[in-house]
Amino acid sequence: MSTPTSDIRHFDAIVVGGGPIGAHVARELSNAHKTVLLLEAGRAGGLTYEGYRSYVTNFHTQVAKDTNSPYPANASAPSPREIDLTQIDPGTPDLNGYQVEFGPQTFASTYLRQLGGTTLHWLGTTPRFLPNDFQLATKYGVGMDWPVTYDDVEPDYCLAEWSIGVSADRKEQEGIGIPFQKGYEFPMLPIPASYSDQVIDKATKGLTVALANRRYPVTVSRLPQARNSIPNPRARPPKPDGRGIDPHGAPYRPVGAVGNPDVGLRCEGNSACIPICPVQAKYSALKTIDKLDRRYVTLEAQTVVTKLTIDDNGRISGVEYLSYDTEGGATTAGRATANIYVLAGHAIENAKLLLASGAANGSDQVGRNLMDHPFSSSWALAPRSMGIFRGPLQSSGIESLRDGEFRREFAAFRIDLSNVGWDIVPDANPPYGDVSRALAKNMFGPALRRHLGDIVPRQVRVGFDLEQLPESQNRVTISREFKDAIGCYRPVIRYGLSDYTWQSMVESMKVSRAIYQRMGIPDADQHYVTSDATQPDERNFRARDGKDYLLNFVGAGHHMGTHRMGLWRTNSVVDRDQRSWDHENLYVVGCGSFPTTGTANPTLTALALALRSTRHMLSQLH
């Protein structure tokens, strides 16, 4: 079955989803000379350099510059957009856009259905999970344990970091509790910390905060990032199985832009990782797709898989799909078969497809336990210029509060430091919002220029990626009432936070206050989405200090948990190899497999798990 062919619609594997996970699975299988049909619902943008640039110039002329703004809407494979989201009134669903939202909170995260997936607009931040993130139940009595440990996944973290090109410093990461195998080094040196990072780092030296009666350090460290930096000359690649270092291997060579490999060999400080890196110094799955061996991989974009069919033995017997020539135009039905099937279409889309197929749901967990890193911000005006809008969107974070005994009581958090000021602050929209507000005050001439030059560079924004526990009522479902233009299901989402996360949001304010005080920022120049509630409101949260707070948050774009992995078929959708408990030739891979969220941006961990799973897939195909 390993003869390359394109006539017969049967393959060794069908991979659904042309994002980073699907691209890596396709690469690993095709490198082993297995035939792969890679199906992507969206268009195949960016396969040439000039084609990719067309999305950059499109971004320039978009008035609303949200995460999906460079990528034109596609009625045949719609994606959620921030501009479609509204605050949900209790009891009234939000029917705007692609996602149908029933609340009680707005699920304000987006993803992108286009070749390359959400890595086209991702930030590129790639921290590993901490060992304790894999065993939350055992360590702290909350959530659930993963069916794999950190040590199980560590070799694949190394492979994933070398595959996508991560810039980071091993010692710095060890300092926040990440263990590494002997001899391992990140492929590239860390991206330099921005000037504003340096100011905050200096101001917070020796700072500690109390969380649940213990003190923890507030330590700034450089973020691991999938953005090109200077190759580490001492680093040697991991061996093919990730176990051990190949002493004879060559140091890492940065991968430049698709179709123009001399461009993008370093991060050039475009301040635009989200929603598009103009030079492709940031990893996107297009780089992996570009190098796929097309003798073995058949790539078909503009093809929306609508159903998995199941035979009498419980094996998946095929995929049914609709392909389209033009976005929003007529569709053609098709079908293909394979020995194994791999769903890599994103946590929401994977769940939708399983539900639409009546597949893999013996545990009733498909679509449930939808999680994100609810993101809460504080912002302030520093006394002097922070030099913002000059580098990648983020270059450092505070990783020292990602773990601790307090996790018995409330969520841990990873703190990110903005290099672009009040980017996520409601209605701030720097610097355009600053221009509009100045014009509304009839400012003009040199006074306008001086005013903007004074207030914008002093903006500081501290953000908190909060942990969220798996809760079965937070879920994606489908309904015949809600379909898109080609008759596919729209995701119907029910989502809310529990006290575990709300309390953490209140705690996060303490950390912000401590940082701002050290920076010499007066109270009047500090701002919180999270505020003492002055009005009675059913949305108020009564915190442990007895006060009521009116809390708010946005999404981090870290969809997790909708097809979680586990040790038992009764409470999980896939096993430790991300294979369906119910269908032995079906794998469901990606962030949807995460049992808990930890605090790390999830893509790197999803890639590591996927690489691990490909070895199991190959054992089935041999």
Partner: protein, 169 residues
């Protein structure tokens, strides 16, 4: 010689184009070399009448000429007059703010309903960004000592250096 004379007339201090530039200099706080350096003077000069018509644009420029002459030689007086005669004016204020918006962000903003109740709503009067170049040349980025996001990138590691006027951290 005809060509040279035509160019000279076009750029003469009292030519309509130069009056447009002098208004732009006064409203933006950037000098004429900086504005010409964007390559967008002619684009914006042509854009205004294409959206609001020659008559409205002509009245706007006439108001500026009148204001400019009255305030000539006294910067403080001119500033006060520009505020009173142009920015606070219900007819010309919205146009002036749109001119500043174009220069600072490359964006034309749909004129306010109150303005449209008097002058009518024009077909091309929608909020839009003029072009990729107009976006990239937005003066706001210069004003905030930065570069336009996703364009004119400053280069690897530049973000680690202190911004203008600041000491190393």
């Amino acid at each position: 010689m005809d060509h040279d004379r035509a160019v000279a007339a076009h750029h003469a201090p009292d030519s309509p184009l130069q009056q447009f530039v002098s208004l732009s200099v006064t409203l933006t706080g950037f000098d004429d070399a900086e504005l010409w350096g964007t390559g967008l003077v002619n684009t914006y000069y042509a854009l205004f009448p294409s959206i609001v018509g020659d008559a409205v644009f002509g009245d706007f420029m006439t108001r500026w000429n009148y204001t400019h002459r009255r305030g000539a030689g006294d910067a403080s007086q001119l500033h006060t007059l520009v505020r009173q005669q142009i920015l606070d004016d219900p007819d010309f204020g919205p146009l002036a703010r749109n001119l500043i918006s174009l220069w600072y962000t490359g964006q034309w903003n749909q004129l306010p309903a109150a303005w449209r109740n008097v002058h009518g709503a024009w077909a091309n009067d929608a909020t839009f960004i003029v072009s990729s170049a107009a976006y990239s040349e937005g003066l706001v980025w210069k004003a905030i000592h930065a570069h336009p996001i996703a364009a004119k990138q400053p280069g690897y590691g530049s973000w680690a250096l202190p911004p203008d006027g600041e000491e190393p951290a």
